[in-house]
Symmetry: C2
Subunit: 87 residues, 2 copies
Amino acid sequence: MCGPFGWGGFEPTSSREKKHEFFVDMTCEGCSKAVTRVLDRLGGVQFDIDLPNKKVFIDSEHNVDTLLETLKKTGKNTSYLGEKSAQ
Amino acid sequence: MCGPFGWGGFEPTSSREKKHEFFVDMTCEGCSKAVTRVLDRLGGVQFDIDLPNKKVFIDSEHNVDTLLETLKKTGKNTSYLGEKSAQ
């Protein structure tokens, strides 16, 4: 009776449904911790890091350019992959 | 007549003989490449990276604060260890 979504079928606002997806060339836990630290330092971000696939998913009040510049500060190869709908 | 150095044989100033030694918490080649990239981006530095011992030796026109801030951009734990005489 709640439909396939299980929570009444009602959608949250679109800003919470999409995450920016970035490629960040991380190869060890030290790399992912470094990314965590620069994003925490920036603030205003919620993020998940997928180390094996070298991806960072970010939900933020900041724009893509700011996020990309912040990630590039780490010195790692980084690129913006686009928006990804939250599961 | 110009001596073995080709420019009069006089020694460079002592500032070229000492290197600043930093601890940088690097754990893989990706970490050391990231450090290389941020230092290259800064410019005006000559450096060696000792990955196993997590150390970076820098000879630079920049002061220690600038070098430390640059290294910290990587998101890695970093500290200044002092000056080390070149071998």
